[in-house]
Symmetry: C2
Subunit: 461 residues, 2 copies
């Protein structure tokens, strides 16, 4: 424990410098889904290359048809040491509605809220704050020791928030360089602010945009109302029918491949004593709105879902306009579990919409993602080692949990590189990632760095 | 007929100058619903005052809490002549989506389309082109004769496209000045490009914005999806249920006050041989989408309707974002007929939404209009006189028709000033009013001016 203590002390001593670097990266407006920010994505990638080179990694920017990747290696630990691939993403979500931010999203700001020190910025948590916990752990380790305890390859992506269009081809083309014993990903949450966690189950995703067109142009509802088909009405009907009264999704065969929870997982989740009232209450809700037959934690972690993520059509400005729109569109996503087949569900959704389309309407679809769900065996040795390291750092038993979100990279690593992934992150449910006023607690950042130092050490044994 | 021929010849000779004035008014960006254009509304009002003063009216701008009114008088015809109140509105609809316009909406442009000369601009028809047909007829009449054949008061409003918030109080406060024998309004369409028409039946309107709120902030669908209530889903369900499978509106007691068409009106409409295929076909539709129990013309003119005029919620930008919105909103309007009570329908709609709101959701409403339907007795003497004048000008029998739109002023005139209104307009169904590329045919403008000269003359007899 002497060796790791020196690293932990170094982390504590250098925390202010780590925070400065965090703020530097947060100032880069690397919104990947909007082409206007392409240069900012390059800037973020270059910043990572510079930092990684400084601390002793062989790092380079790798251009893709979209935003660039960053790869970095430090294999000085030697052939006997395990080889891990650490993955993070430097791109961030859009910031709208920007008027709801208390401070500008790309000007990181320290604020103490209810006695908790937090940093507010887009990407403060997802994923810039999180990926830096690993990078800063490596920095501290290398400042104290000549070599890291593991052979480490790092991969940073710039398209995670926009469906990772370049990822699959890039992994295939660079498989030899990226293949490791297993992967580490820091893009997930703790169980709560005191309890560290490893995610062993992730939902998959199908994300579709559906655009319904009726008349060839917008119409005046005074002249045409009554006789003209209204695409907003058509779309509303289609979306409304996606759920039945019990909250089940109505697509044919949607639940193929969905099993009830395995007994060992069910048992470990029961032990969590999840407080649904507190979880929902913190965002102004009180009643789980999913399948009435399942408890809230299963609705969140292990049951498939369907959400309408956006809808628009007709006049949406101030005041009244008596228009019948020509088009209406919605973004619809399905979270998948177990062996649900994303391609089959995408096809079922498109057929479902087509079948319900009345005369005079046409539909277009745009697909933004097709990812299977993922789960790890709970007795995997790396899980056991990492769980102990996290327990040591937080002085509280680290839990093995499921997660509602999908992290497509995990499936890609399994499929393309044949690797399992250990998901360890220090985010919290109230971090407002993807929302205005995203934040990351200073504790998440500081103890996150310390956690990685311990986990690296533990995995080397 | 000699006297009127001199006026008609003058109209023909001065047409180019009339068009210049039309273009002047079209260049004014008098969008009333958007406060950013308040100065442009004042500009349009002042332009009218200047023009009316020039041709011999006693004209003035009258400020209101919103956009100003214009009132003008010329009563030189003497006490024996009928007194009419002409009404028009100088404000226009917003121009979005502006990218669909072929030419800038406030730079009027002449184009010949399929051999028909047309002027493209926002307001080319609604209502700037239309109101100028009357003003230019008065100008030509006064250039040829010392006095007009009627005592004329004009009233121009600047808030017609935004719910006329100042109108009611203004009419009441100025009732003595505005009261006439009957009103003339030029804001309606011909039956088709060859057939002039008088509208004797107008639908009323209730226009509501409904805003559903669930969680206290936008949520990440990965963290909350499944258990969090989604306001877009809630709103879709509520909107979808507003119609049943036969296209009937499901609000309780919605059809109270709706009667089947009176036999004389039914007969005159049958005689029109309305071509529903052609009407719908011109905008890319083929099947009347309203109540299946009624023919297309009744769906358009005499049956009540419900349309969703706009909807928005969640992420609507490019690409994918896995958000569960906190709010979703829609604009919903009802077209009313017969004795339907707008206030009762507004209340029924609000109760309907409240009743369907699941736990954890709240709703706000904003009302944008509550107008009763209107109809005239077909044997009113002024209808008969005007019908003959229109028939003379167009060399085709003028028809008496219904209209789907609501022109709230007509109800206000009846209620506040105790006057009936003659609705005569020269717009066409393909004018794209309220849509991109609004236009008005040169023939509508030119023969519209000539029509008013004849109608004034006829009404004086």
């Amino acid at each position: 424990m002497t060796e790791i203590n020196a690293v932990l002390n170094r982390i504590d001593a250098d925390l202010d410098k780590s925070i400065e670097r965090w703020f530097d990266l947060l100032r880069v407006r690397s919104i990947s889904t909007d082409p206007a920010y392409a240069d900012e994505c390059i800037k973020a990638a270059d910043w990572l290359v510079t930092q990684l080179t400084q601390i002793g990694f062989d790092a380079s920017r790798r251009d893709t048809p979209g935003h660039p990747m960053v790869i970095a290696h430090n294999h000085d630990a030697g052939d006997q040491a395990p080889h891990v691939l650490f993955y993070g993403h430097y791109d961030v979500q859009p910031v709208d509605p920007v008027e709801l931010w208390n401070t500008p999203p790309f000007e990181p700001e320290f604020r103490e809220v209810n006695g908790v020190k937090q940093v507010f910025a887009r990407g403060a948590a997802d994923d810039k704050g999180q990926l830096l916990t690993f990078l800063e752990a490596c920095r501290a380790y290398l400042a104290e020791h000549e070599t890291l305890p593991l052979r480490i390859t790092m991969l940073f992506e710039g398209e995670e928030e926009s469906g990772s269009p370049s990822l699959d081809a890039f992994l295939k083309a660079n498989a030899d360089e990226l293949k490791a014993d297993f992967a580490l990903v820091c893009d997930t949450n703790m169980y709560d602010a005191e309890t560290p966690a490893i995610d062993t189950m992730l939902r998959g995703m199908v994300y579709e945009e559906v655009i319904v067109t009726a008349a060839s142009r917008d119409l005046h509802s005074g002249l045409y109302g009554g006789a003209a088909q209204n695409p907003i009405r058509v779309l509303s009907r289609i979306l409304a029918d996606l759920h039945d009264d019990e909250g089940r999704i109505t697509l044919p065969n949607f639940y193929d491949g969905v099993s009830d929870l395995a007994p060992d997982i069910a048992e470990s989740w029961d032990a969590l004593n999840f407080d649904a009232d507190a979880f929902l209450g913190s965002v102004g809700l009180s009643k789980p709105a999913g399948e009435t037959a399942y408890p809230a934690l299963q609705q969140l972690w292990s049951r498939p879902t369907c959400d309408i993520n956006g809808i628009i059509g007709g006049y949406t400005g101030a005041g009244a306009k008596t228009v019948i729109a020509s088009k209406a569109s919605a973004k619809v996503s399905f979270r998948l579990v177990g062996d649900q087949d994303p391609k089959a569900i995408q096809a079922a959704f498109r057929a479902y919409v087509q079948d319900r389309l009345p005369e005079d309407c046409s539909v277009e679809f745009v697909g933004y993602g097709n990812d299977r769900a993922f789960s790890l065996p709970l007795d995997m040795p790396e899980i056991v080692k990492a769980q102990q390291a996290l327990t040591d750092e937080w002085d509280k038993q680290a839990v093995l949990m499921g997660m509602g979100g999908s992290i497509p990279i995990v499936g890609e690593f399994q499929r393309v590189l044949g690797m399992d992934t250990l998901l360890i992150g220090f985010g919290l449910d109230d971090d407002s990632i993807h929302s205005p006023n995203e934040k990351y607690n200073l504790t998440s950042f500081h103890k996150g760095i310390r956690s990685w130092a311990r986990v690296m050490e533990a995995l080397a044994k």
